[in-house]
Amino acid sequence: MTAKALILAGYGLNCEEETLHALEYNGIDGKIIHINDLIETPKELESAQILAIPGGFSYGDDTGAGNAYAQKLKLALMDELRSFVERDTLTIGICNGCQILTNLGLTPPTGSDYGTRKTAVTYNETARYQCRWIDLKITNKSPWLKGIETMHIPVAHGEGRFMMDDDTLKILQDNNQIAAIYTKDGAPANGEFPYNPNGSAADIAAITDPSGKVLAIMPHPERGMFTWQRDDYMEIKDRAQRTGSTLAETADGMALFANAAAYFGVKSKQAA
């Protein structure tokens, strides 16, 4: 089996190459596509199984992170995007992609609200860009997160704070749409900086649509997919060298992309 993934690019998105690498590493056929090219040939979506909106700084975060890119997608491709997520497909938005998905209303509280903004991802409580490693607890059953309990991966954002009204939060909680929360020593970070790096409501780091197939995640799994990318790589490497053990090639973030491959029955190159 094979699966085709589209990775969006353009207007300041900037993590498309490493996101492509993550997908290809797991045997998925990936293609980076500029938003203007996708607008010109929306049929590309029909033959794809995976849509990835990578991290970046689309439109410089001006008018709110992800807003302008989402407006552009909404005007040109909303119907096509809706049909895409209604098929048996997987969609992921990482960081700026997460902000774009929430601005598009593709990770809504209930199935009938597709296209309505109910959650915002806005300015960090510190009002400062935060690039640091955090710990996540996985809290729902999205196909992207199957079998994953915790992840140690980095965040890098100025606007990563999930905000919503109480009703919406309750719906997300009741429907199990909160996909990952920030933790401290295994317990919820309870808003404590820097474990929760942005002041996100209920320590939310990622949410999904009701089906779990659309994942909007602020932290960057593709920056923590290899052991050598980890912030404690030097310590891990040293221990392995002392004990004569072999270092695992992949790290927590890779599982997410491996799950996407497995969902479509794609055998990863490593397994093959």
Partner: protein
């Protein structure tokens, strides 16, 4: 009709909270609401679609005023200043159905409630804005109500066009020396200085005496740009004393030439000193490039604008290397005054124009690199901050970019390019405004509608990102252009002028250049330094498809002329010839200006000081010194792992120590890594610039070697930031520094591949009582290193890894505290500045290289500011592990053992099982000292000297700048 849209943020807004915190820090208390304002004259701006596209209904309300506030403060841009938010809003306006040429202007409104008076609000306005580029409007709640809100302001640029002449004639015939110098100093019709010395002015006069027509304004402006110190580097190029070739050819370039010859087949250099960056071999498939720039003068006036323009500017140097390199790592470096002080200096005698405070400058330059680097998607793991109060009026702002480029592109070497006669001149990117005209000279006059922010510029990273992606990720590999370069200093006059040297001439049709606003004179268009532009030479058959592809990526590209081979530099404006000069004269017509120097060693007698009575206390104080303490707050706001390539980051170990060296894996599928570091010791120049420069180069090399870089694949960049370079004594200091770095590099066989200089870092102004002062930045060489580590599994961090590991000090510790941190802490300069023993150092680096290849070293730190004491403490903090140390075998009094800054030393830890192999590796090397081991304690213990709690050390190290 003008539409003003106010988007009010949720009451719980990070920006509002941060301002509340800042107000609280000043002893007041206030509640703040923030609104983003968009103003436009376009008819579609009043549409619901546009309004809705600007606001997120979850957290924002449109056109709502909060009920309860005492003050309203609005900050917007002055006319002509780059407004990136406005630019994005205007794209949204296009999506809402407007035509593409529409303007939206952004501003930000703060509603403030609290017991504050107007002067408090003015203080807040001053911290939030810079009057050089921004306007601040303040209204009390009553005024707000009476006026029915804030005023609607459209910051249009309106230029008074000067008649119909495309160019003004400047007849130099028969002018006296005084008259020539008046033109040079005040400019043509007082437009701003040309800045040329008399010998140059006379050479120009002589040239035109032989021509059949007098000079035009645009010709003189072009010559002034081309011959400027900034572009020609005349101080480094001129004969100096008995060095006929000058400092650059005679020492720096010669060092590289000799090293390349000595290395023979193992030469790593591919492109040195000839392009926008230097390029060395990375692996069989790729080159890595590096370039470090300075942006000092602009950053003194507008720190944010200066720094962001600097970083996106040096990104373009990378994009303009060879056929175009992909920016993969950014560097930064700031030399600043103490941000906790408020020195009072003014630019004018009337004391109305104060300099910016050190805190404002620090925050601004940090923010500028943050914006530029983060938005461009380039990791910024590598940098430093150095403090000295003499950087008060002229901070040094270093920015650098490492690039990655295939060694072969379309069957041709990736680093080669040539503009051919017949190629079209295509400029892509942002439009041209009055930005940065005469960028080197600043006016202290307030800017108004008629003089739109010409001196300062603000970068537009997203416009550049779109352009960069289009070039590096698509067009380059299609082979549609024959050459490419960036637009930096001098704008098109430099970029086109330099590329035309390859073809042998150019003809530019200046009316084709897209402008930000009407009314600019041709000479302004030609030398404008408007940002985010690349210039290409494009064969005529490729221009249509190239321009079309750029357009598809949201980038404007325009043909502005043709490269020729008639040896003429020619410009027409609507058909009228306004410039027509010999290429030869333009590029090589500047006469030689021989320089002479003197040199006097500085310093004082060595001070007679007592040993500290409490060594632990002294160590705590040393760790809190600005040049030693942590700058973690910078690292966490710079995205240092975008592109997924970070191996060894800026914060190392569980204790997160701010490190001097980083490792990056720019090719995800390669085992190799790029090792970056730097070294600089500005204060050593108080005693000897030679020692200063040698120590800087040694540290740049040693840091990289300590982390595991291969000495055989290590290159250097030199950035000289000097002062008063028209004085023989300063030139003597310069010559001594250049001689020193020649010797160190040749000894280590580490070639210079790129460099830059900034020669007049002096502040001339007035102190609080109105007397004239001149504050010169200490002569500073920044040495930057770029190397390759053959496999990242050999990388070595500074953090100790395990209890029981042995601690070794490699290298000799001498009585060398002169101009170092310890003496400065005690208020002395001294005389014994560290001298670099390159022979011993090289022996060590080679032996160390073998040990690191064999993975015998668990952690390593190259000693620098604060010597062994600071190094031990940083290691203990990084590893969060205790250390038992015994220094009794080092034959030097204890305080000097701890704080001497002798170069060539590395502090390492070694696993006990590797002890034998490690010591055997260094057999015969006399400066190997086992000084202790990593202990199962929470203390740094130095026998008979001190016991320091690691948490207390960490606090001393981390607290000084933690609130910034």
């Amino acid at each position: 009709m003008t539409t003003r849209i106010e988007v009010l943020a949720h009451i719980d807004d990070g920006r509002a909270k941060t301002l509340e915190k800042a107000i609280k820090a000043k002893g007041k208390s206030a509640a703040v609401r923030v609104a983003d304002i968009y103003t436009s004259e376009h008819a579609k701006a009043s549409s619901d679609a546009f309004t809705q596209s600007l606001a997120n209904p979850v957290t924002q309300e449109t056109n709502t005023t909060p009920n309860d506030f005492d003050w309203a403060l609005e900050i917007g841009f002055l006319p002509g200043v780059t407004d990136n938010i406005g630019h994005t809003a205007s794209e949204l306006l296009s999506l809402a159905g407007a035509d593409n040429d529409n303007d939206v202007f952004s501003s930000r409104l703060y509603y403030i409630k609290g017991n504050l008076d107007k002067s408090d609000i003015e203080d807040i306005a001053n911290t939030l804005s810079n009057s050089l580029i921004q306007r601040a409007t303040i209204k009390s709640a009553a005024e707000f109500k009476a006026d029915d809100g804030m005023d609607t302001i459209i910051p249009h640029v309106t230029l008074s066009t000067t008649g119909n002449t495309a160019a003004d004639i400047v007849d130099l015939n028969g002018l006296s020396d005084e008259q020539l110098m008046e033109i040079s100093q005040k400019g043509i019709q007082n437009r701003g200085p040309l800045g040329l010395p008399l010998v140059y002015m006379k050479a120009i006069q002589e040239y035109y005496a032989k021509q059949d027509k007098p000079a035009t304004d645009i010709e003189l402006e072009t010559i002034a740009q081309t011959w400027s110190e900034h572009c020609k580097h005349t101080i480094f190029a001129s004969p100096i004393d008995d060095v006929k070739d000058g400092l650059y050819k005679g020492f720096i370039k010669r060092a590289t030439k000799e090293i390349r010859a000595a290395k023979g087949e193992n030469d790593i250099c591919v492109s040195v000193f000839s392009d926008n960056a230097g390029g060395i071999i990375f692996d069989d498939n790729y080159l890595i490039t590096d370039k470090v720039e300075t942006h000092n003068s602009p950053s003194a006036l507008d720190p944010f604008g200066g720094a962001i323009t600097g970083i996106v500017g040096v990104n373009r140097d990378c994009i303009g290397f060879g056929q175009g390199a992909k920016p993969v790592i950014n560097r930064y470096g700031f030399c600043l005054a103490d941000p906790r002080t408020s020195p009072e200096y003014y630019r004018d005698k009337a004391l109305t124009n104060p300099i910016l405070s050190p805190e404002t400058i620090m925050k601004g330059v940090i923010d500028g690199v943050e914006s530029g680097g983060n938005q461009s998607g380039i990791p910024t793991p590598q940098g430093f901050v150095t403090f000295d109060d003499r950087f008060v009026g002229k901070p040094l702002v270093f920015v650098g970019t490492i690039g990655l480029i295939p060694r072969t592109i379309n069957g041709k070497p990736g680093h080669k390019k040539k503009a051919n006669a017949g190629d079209k001149i295509v400029v892509a990117g942002g439009r041209v405004g009055r930005d940065g005209i005469h960028g080197a000279t600043f006016s202290s006059v307030a800017l108004d509608e008629g003089s739109p922010a010409t001196a300062v510029q603000i970068g537009d990273p997203i416009t550049q990102k779109k352009m960069s992606d289009a070039i590096i990720k698509e067009i380059r590999d299609l082979g549609w252009y024959s050459a490419i370069t960036d637009n930096g200093a001098g704008g098109m006059s430099s970029s086109i002028g330099e590329m035309a040297e390859q073809s042998g001439g150019f003809h530019v049709e200046l009316e084709r250049v897209p402008l930000k606003y009407p009314g600019m004179a041709p000479w302004e268009i030609w030398i404008s330094e408007s940002q985010e532009r690349m210039t290409m030479a494009v064969p005529p058959e490729n221009t249509d498809k190239l321009i079309a592809l750029f357009a598809k990526r949201g980038v404007e590209a325009t043909i502005v002329g043709t490269y020729t081979d008639d040896e003429r530099a020619k410009i027409t404006y609507n058909g009228e010839t306004i410039m027509d000069m010999d290429m030869d004269f333009l590029h090589d017509g500047n006469p030689e200006t021989p320089l002479t120097t003197t040199f006097t060693r500085g310093g004082e007698p060595e001070p007679n000081i007592a040993e500290p009575s409490d060594h632990a206390q002294t160590l705590m104080e040393m760790m809190g010194r600005l040049n030693i303490c942590s700058k973690e707050f910078i690292s966490t706001q710079y995205d240092h792992n975008v592109q997924g390539t970070a191996v060894l980051g800026p914060l190392q170990g569980a204790g997160r120590v701010y490190a001097e060296t980083s490792i990056t894996k720019p090719v995800l599928t390669s085992e190799k890594g790029v090792v970056l570091s730097q070294g600089l010791f500005p204060r050593y120049s108080d005693i000897d610039t030679g020692a200063m420069a040698a120590a800087g180069v040694d540290l740049a090399v040693r840091n990289a070697i300590a982390a595991g870089a291969d000495l055989n694949q290590l290159a250097l960049l030199d950035n000289f930031c000097w002062c008063s370079s028209d004085e023989p004594e300063r030139l003597g200091q310069l010559k001594r520094a250049v001689e020193a770095i020649y010797e160190v590099a040749v000894k280590y066989e580490t070639p210079y591949v790129s460099g830059k200089d900034s020669m007049f870092n002096d502040f001339k102004g007035f102190n609080a009582d109105g007397s004239a002062v001149k504050i010169s930045a200490p002569p500073t060489l920044l040495a930057s290193s770029i190397g390759v580590i053959p496999n990242i599994d050999r990388a070595i961090s500074l953090a100790p890894k395990a209890v029981g590991d042995l601690v070794y000090l490699l290298g000799a510790t001498k009585d060398e505290c002169g101009a170092g941190e310890y003496y400065d802490h005690l208020g002395h300069t001294g005389n014994n500045v560290p001298e670099t023993d390159t022979h011993q150092a090289l022996r060590l680096y080679k032996l160390y290289g073998r040990a690191s290849r064999d993975k015998l070293i668990a952690s390593a730190y190259a000693l620098n500011h604060g010597g062994l004491g600071a190094a031990l403490a940083k290691k203990a903090i990084a590893g969060q592990l205790g250390m038992d140390i015994d220094l009794s075998n080092i034959d030097l009094r204890t305080d000097k053992t701890l704080y001497s800054e002798s170069t060539g030393r590395i502090l390492v830890t070694v696993a006990p099982q590797n002890k034998e192999k490690f010591e055997k590796n260094f057999k015969g090397f006399e400066d190997l000292h086992q000084i202790g081991h990593i202990a199962h304690t929470n203390k740094l213990s130095i026998r008979n000297v001190l016991d320091a709690d690691i948490k207390a050390l960490e606090k001393a190290y981390k607290s000084p700048l933690s609130e910034y």
